[in-house]
């Protein structure tokens, strides 16, 4: 401090008169020149540092160049001067909210050449605490202000990467933590920097930090390190292939306490499934889950490693006590083209023991992951514990589960198997026990009072069931035959009766017995159309409140969306629906529209149009019957009604990833806002699959409305049998293509392993043979399909001829199969 006072004395001038700050700063700046003694320079820097807060502009304008020179020449030699000059530069370049330009201006001057940045990255190698610490801090500020410039200089800095790695290894916590923050910005959006740090071993260092800190329990430090790992990997395929070659991916799983090599038939350990969670731990776990999801994404779900990660995410989502957000994230990250054997994995869900504050848990009966997934979508987590509330997190989780289900049943084979399980083994056998999905779908609602839990599960059941049927003629064919056994009104509150504590008796046993059928059991379609009309009645009751009506509307939307997708292109199902009184049910709401009520009439009009367009099977209600009704309702009116669906926010706001919406009723003025966003009440109306379906088809429906009853179908001319045949052949081809692909992949994997060349060669030949075999089979099938189509053509030609002859002979020919002559412009 002696220098300090001496300098001041020296600067005060001969008369000892006080000077202005700017005069002082000017003189101090002169003293920064290399010509002065080191001690004087040091004193000048210290003085400038003291003045820099209050006189940022003066110090910056006069002294910046000198300070940079001092940094370059003295900081390495004298750590006191190094610390002081860095701290001054930090003050100058920091962007303070009051005067933003100044900070940027000085940053730009500092970054005019690469010199200072190179000096800084060299200084990082300096082991003295303050030099290292202030250098990191200063680099962080420069990066924040002008990231790209610093990044481009960094790539040419001689010891840059080495020193960055060194600070990640620093034993002094403060330095290491500061380093994590700086590195996050340094690597942002720069694949080159990401790669060069990877080359120098950044992943290993970062994982060391995480491990030292105690994994995901390691607080913000672990968070910083995991964020860096994520940044090094995301969008960087080169780094991803490096990473997956290391032992780090298994280490990621073990951070979640999940054993990476867990065999498929073994249950996940309890210490993984049940953990103590806090917010910070959830954030850290979320980062790990995010990285796992990214690795699955780049690997495709075929590889063995990927299936380990997928299982880990499935277990978190379905059978753990992880926070809801983490579960949702895990489910969302499952790959869309998932061919993961959900029905073969057995999971063990848990339930919190009431009143134990999440500290005690009951283990439930093991169930297949598929059953657990359906249960989760239908009732929410923990057996529907909170399903009567419409909490944002809860609904998002259920929506995510529904999407996983949708992806899982993408293959026709799987849909078929699921629907088949709802049918008797043989036609004469009794109906099998009602599956949870069918139960939730077909159970009539108690319309005397609103039961939110039940309404939600009915609605989700509609969404799930639509995933099974959408554009699958085969699935629709089987679904028509479903006759659910005896149903019992759903219990309110805890709707999930399908999981019971491992030590308890199943209440389901009671529901199954007592066959009370005097009448023949109804088909599912009949039940749905009856349920629909009951709920439509409930919503038109004059005494119902807005809130109640909104709930009935939701169920109606669920039913109508499902039915639209079911009846589309399926004349037999249309026939069944019309025969069970569906027409009257639909006409009613269309007939009594009001300004405030757009949604339901619009969907009814849409379904009515579908019923008209695809009413192609002989039956009591003919196309002419419907045509008359349509005319009475007014074609223009119906067309307009259908279009108006687009105006409704509940429809319009749906995106592929956002089907959960804020509930307007809760957000009413006067009510206090919810404390946490996660406690916010929300609702679901449509899913993206339906919105997509509607958008692709509403125009066809609108165009079909004015057509003549005798006119042939305007949409795809194939009859359902052909469509089914084509679809199933397509499926076979798709499967074989997949098989070939996976064989090729295996082939590749195999051939990358050394040492087993002869054996592998043998395998290669075998696999090649198999591949060409499958290709052969595929060709045969394609040929077969072609032959079938030709045959079909011949048959219909013959039929046409026969009919013509019948006509000539004066016999009657059925009208709806009228032939389509040579002009094919219908």
């Amino acid at each position: 401090m002696e220098f300090f006072s001496q300098t001041y004395v020296a600067l005060r001038g001969p008369q000892g008169q006080p000077q202005t700050a700017s005069e002082t700063i000017g003189r101090l700046s002169d003293r920064l020149s290399p010509a002065t003694l080191l001690a004087d320079r040091r004193a000048a820097v210290l003085a400038l540092k003291g003045l820099s807060r209050d006189h940022k502009q003066d110090v910056g304008d006069r002294a910046l160049a000198g300070l940079l020179d001092v940094l370059a020449s003295d900081a390495e030699i004298d750590s006191d001067i190094g610390k002081a000059v860095l701290e001054t530069l930090i003050v100058l370049c920091e962007v303070d909210p009051a005067n933003k330009e100044l900070g940027f201006k000085y940053t730009d001057i500092v970054l005019a050449t690469e010199k200072t940045v190179h000096t800084l990255f060299t200084l990082l190698g300096d082991n003295s605490f303050y030099t290292r610490f202030s250098t990191i801090e200063y680099l962080a500020i420069l990066l924040q202000n002008r990231r790209q410039v610093v990044q481009s200089y960094f790539l040419k800095a001689p010891a840059g990467t080495r020193n960055v790695i060194a600070i990640l290894e620093d034993k002094r916590e403060i330095i290491r933590n500061e380093a994590l923050t700086m590195v996050q910005t340094l690597v942002a959006q720069s694949p080159d920097i990401q790669k060069v740090l990877t080359f120098e071993g950044a992943f290993e260092k970062l994982f060391n930090i995480v491990t030292q800190e105690g994994g995901i329990e390691g607080g913000v430090v672990s968070q910083g390190a995991l964020t860096c790992v994520d940044a090094l990997l995301r969008f960087n395929t080169s780094n991803q292939s490096y990473f997956k070659e290391t032992q780090l991916p298994p280490a990621l799983c073990s951070l979640l306490l999940y054993p990476y090599t867990l065999p498929l038939h073994e249950p996940a350990p309890q210490e993984f499934a049940l953990q103590f969670w806090d917010d910070q731990k959830a954030v850290n776990a979320g980062l790990v889950v995010g990285i796992l999801g990214m690795l699955i994404g780049t690997k495709g779900s075929a590889s063995q490693e990927a299936s380990g990660y997928i299982r880990c995410l499935v277990e978190i989502g379905l059978a753990s006590n992880a926070p809801v957000r983490l579960k949702t994230q895990s489910l969302r990250l499952l790959p869309a083209n998932m061919n993961f054997p959900l029905s073969e994995i057995v999971v063990t869900p848990y339930m919190p023991v009431p009143e134990t504050n999440g500290e005690e848990w009951d283990r439930l009966e093991p169930a297949s992951a598929l059953d657990a997934l359906v249960e989760l979508a239908l009732h929410g987590e923990y057996n529907g514990l909170d399903s009567a509330k419409r909490l944002k997190n809860g609904l998002e989780l259920r929506a995510a589960a529904s999407t996983v289900f949708e992806n899982f049943v993408h293959s026709d084979e799987i849909r078929h198997a699921i629907i088949q399980a709802m049918l008797p083994v043989e036609a004469s056998a009794p109906a099998p026990p009602v599956t949870p999905l069918l139960h939730a779908l077909a159970s009539p609602l108690d319309t005397s009072s609103v039961d939110l839990a039940q309404i939600s599960s009915t609605h989700f059941a509609c969404l799930l069931f639509a995933h099974l049927l959408r554009s699958s003629p085969r699935a629709k064919l089987s679904a028509r035959l479903i006759k659910p056994g005896p149903l019992h009104p759903q219990q309110s509150a805890s709707a999930g009766q399908f999981f019971v504590p491992a030590d308890g008796a199943s209440p389901l046993a009671a529901t199954q017995a007592e066959p009370d059928d005097d009448e023949p059991p109804q088909t599912l379609l009949q039940i749905l159309s009856e349920n629909l009309s009951l709920v439509l009645l409930a919503r038109s009751r004059p005494d119902a409140s807005d809130g109640e009506n909104r709930e009935w509307d939701r169920v109606v939307v669920g039913y109508l969306s499902l039915l639209s997708q079911w009846l589309w292109e399926d004349p037999k199902s249309v026939r069944d629906f019309l025969d069970s009184g569906g027409l009257g049910t639909l006409v009613e709401p269309v007939n009594q529209i009001s300004e405030s009520d757009v949604l339901i009439p619009s969907l009814c009009a849409f379904l009515l149009g579908i019923c008209y367009e695809f009413n192609r099977e002989p039956g009591e209600i003919t196309r002419s019957t419907i045509h008359q009704i349509i005319n009475r309702l007014g074609i223009d009116n119906l067309v307009a009604q259908i279009s108006r669906l687009r105006e409704d926010d509940r429809f319009r706001a749906i995106g592929p990833d956002s089907i959960v919406q804020a509930s307007p009723l809760v957000a009413k003025p006067g009510l206090p806002a919810p404390k946490q966003p996660s406690q916010e009440e929300v609702e679901i109306w449509f899913d993206w699959a339906f919105v997509d379906f509607w958008k692709s088809n509403y125009y066809t429906v609108q165009r079909a409305l004015p057509t003549d009853p005798n006119q042939l179908s305007t949409s795809a001319g194939q009859n359902p049998e052909t469509a089914m045949l084509v679809a199933s052949l397509r499926e076979v081809i798709r499967k074989q293509a997949e098989e070939i692909e996976s064989l090729q992949k295996r082939l590749k994997e195999q051939s990358t392993q050394p040492n087993e060349v002869p054996q592998l060669q043998k395998q290669v030949t075998e696999l090649t043979a198999q591949v060409s075999d499958s290709a052969e089979r595929q060709k045969d099938l394609e040929k077969e399909q072609e032959d079938l189509l030709v045959l079909l053509d011949e048959v219909s030609a013959k039929r046409k001829r026969d009919k013509a002859r019948l006509k000539e002979a004066g016999l009657e020919v059925s009208e709806d199969e009228a032939d389509d002559d040579e002009d094919d412009d219908e």
């Binding site: 694949p191 080359f199 070659e245 290391t246 032992q247 050394p754």
Partner: protein, 222 residues
Amino acid sequence: MSSITWHYVLKFIITGDAAVGKSSLLIRLTDQRFLTNPDPTLGVEFGSKLISIPDEDKIIKLQCWDTAGTESFRSITRSYYRGAAGCLLVYDVTNRKSFVNTKSWLADVREHADPHLTCILVGNKVDLCDETQDAPAKPRQVSTEEAASFAQQEGILFVEASAKSGVNVELAFVEAAQDILQKIKNGVFDDSRSPGVKLSNQPNPNSLTLEQTSSKNNTCCS
């Protein structure tokens, strides 16, 4: 993946003029493929491969960083020299200039890399001037003798190869790896001093067990 095990991890870099076939050599090594139209490399690309050294009965994990030959990436690719244990210095036998330039590449490598780095000169694209055919697709511009004598002068290994036909590609890496193993045996790298060499069975006090022999160590849930 848990069954794969290795004794050493060696870091390699691949350098040389643009378009001499560096990426093609790496892809041939890792994927057994040849692309007629690969994109020029931007910066660096990573590829890895397990090879076995039968004489030593060792399995080696090669971590290869394939660098861009284009001048504008020089400063980026240089950062990789220091950490490498081996270097493939590639030229194109039908392009004399690329051979002449290996001298300056080598100087650059020597300036920045570990002094014990093993370098192998690789004359690529020999398929183009297949002498057994009457009309080679492209005349050779660098004779085998000339390159061999240059390599000898500089004290580096040498091989001619083709990423297209695959001839000698793995050999180039194996020879270099063998040389590195020899150096390890001779104690050139006393206690993992080369950043490009990692031993599987020698725990590094600074790193957790992640880089060690794989297989075990997966039941980390205790």
